[in-house]
Amino acid sequence: MSEDQNFPAAMGHPTAHDVEVEKAAAGDPVADPGLAAHEPRPTDVDPHAEKRAERQIATLFGLSSVCAVLFVISYFVFKVGANPTIIAGLGASNVALGLTLGLALLLIGMGAIQWARKLMSDVEMVEMRHPAASSAEDREAAISSFQAGVKDSGIARRPLIRNSLIGALAFLGLPLIVVLRDLGPLPGNKLAHTVWRKGMRLTNDIAGTPIKPEEVEIGQLINGEPAIFYAKDAQGKPVIEGTELLQAKAKAAIIIVRMKPEDITPLPNRRNWGVSGILCYSKICTHVGCPISLWEQQTHHLLCPCHQSTFDLADNGKVIFGPAGRALPQLPITVDSEGYLVAQSDFHEPVGPSYWERG
């Protein structure tokens, strides 16, 4: 296919395609208006305008080079790190680097567009649509070369080669299966349990200090963790650390709140799950597992910042708004012999979002 096809004016010999188009146009009730008369640009007819456009474009490219140089200068001049250069309350380095590099690119773009619009060739074009299928000759050639290949390989005549190839491809599945097996084993009942045990102390997160009920005031919120996260073994090493700690933390994080006892409406089997108005809930949202600690002390509502699920902590963690499907699991707590808050047991249900096996 030649380029000429796109220029009706320069068309020497009509192709089959163009004849089709003309035939269709002949029956058209609306006459083809044709192309509007060509109007030259100032730069086409006026040599001064052409020179001016040339200088404009060169200026844009020149300014771009200046910006690139300014980028390098500001890279070395403005301080970063602990004591950065500040201009008008903004970090000077980032602002200067962004502005100079952005302008350098923008100016090249502006110059290129001016060049194309004012100086490059200016002719009207008509581009005809091409047929979607390739030509009959091309298709014929492709099919015959494929068949020649099949014949040459003799796959039909040599069943031994064919069958061993099929076998080799099938055995390639083995490495795949062995490697994918490492994605397992299935988690079993790990999702259903946390590190909480009977008698484990509740501690303030980060500090790791155990909590006495008399230190907790009405309207208080404590972001807590089990004491085992801060426990050390005989050698002074943490009992749980690394990945294991992070995984355990993702399930065992809690919030401890204190409300007026008369505001709380516990379920019949949860009457002894708190200590004089102090209740403990999982910190993990039952929707998709965000940690929640946005607690309004006057309404007793706990709001998840991710999707606005809202739980009423005075009413057994009931969902009162949002996409969460289950009430927030409650950790039954009591006081140990030294007067610190401890868990009565693990959570009675899996914490966090629902999963297949949970049903």
Binding site: P42, T43, D46, L90, G91, G98, E217, L294, Q298, L303
Partner: protein, 281 residues
Amino acid sequence: MRLLTARLSAKRRSPLAGLVVVLLGLLLTGGAYTFLSPASAQTGSADQSKIDAGRRLFLVGCASCHGENGEGVVTKRGTQYGPPLVGVGAAAVDFQVGTGRMPMARPGAQAQQKEVLYNQEEISQLAAYVASLGPGPAEPTKAQYDVNGIDNASVVRGGEFWRTNCTACHNFAAAGGALPGGKYAPSLRHVPPKKIYEAMLTGPQQMPVFSDGVLKPSEKRDVIAYIKSIQDSPNYGGYNLGSLGPVSEGLAAWVIGIGALVAFAIWIASHSVRSRKGAKA
């Protein structure tokens, strides 16, 4: 005590012995209290005049909602019109009145921070009166909230407490955030250290309490030091668009950034380089 009196009376067989022991015990306790109790007698008159002045201010500016004796006012529907102030302590008064949240201009979802209506002396008089209603947290001392010269390790530790306890409402950059029902957690970018300490201590409005027993005074100081480090740090990456995270940044990118590109493209296409002027020349 009963054992003791029983043994004594058993030995002496006097019916008055028990009474004498009880009287002796009371006398000792009372005497010890006089010696060991806080020196309230010396400062009593000055305190009392401060409390009286506070009460006069309270009756004018606060009693219509909080009751004449700070006992709170309950509406006909049983909700609180103004909460009782017994036991809220001087720290709560200094925070609420000292930030202009109290007295409230009108009932609403939340008391707004506004112009402070009382001077510092009047605030301390009000605080003294409210503190006299029942034991509550006192105003923090300067040593508790002053973070000048604090070491870097404390700031880092304060950051850990901050991200655990505060960022859910106040935003990681202390820019504040929305709460349900028209309420909001205010920005902390211009709050002085003392007010931050008092807010943690008393839990104003929907904010939970972070008592000194659980979040120790030194840990509170670390948190304040971290907030101060946020307040002092410049907008290193250019304009922060309110530090609201992906929402405001995405909005700016789509509306301003892509909007400018579209406008630029339209401007390029709508301005012809042809002109009659050029054709004539």
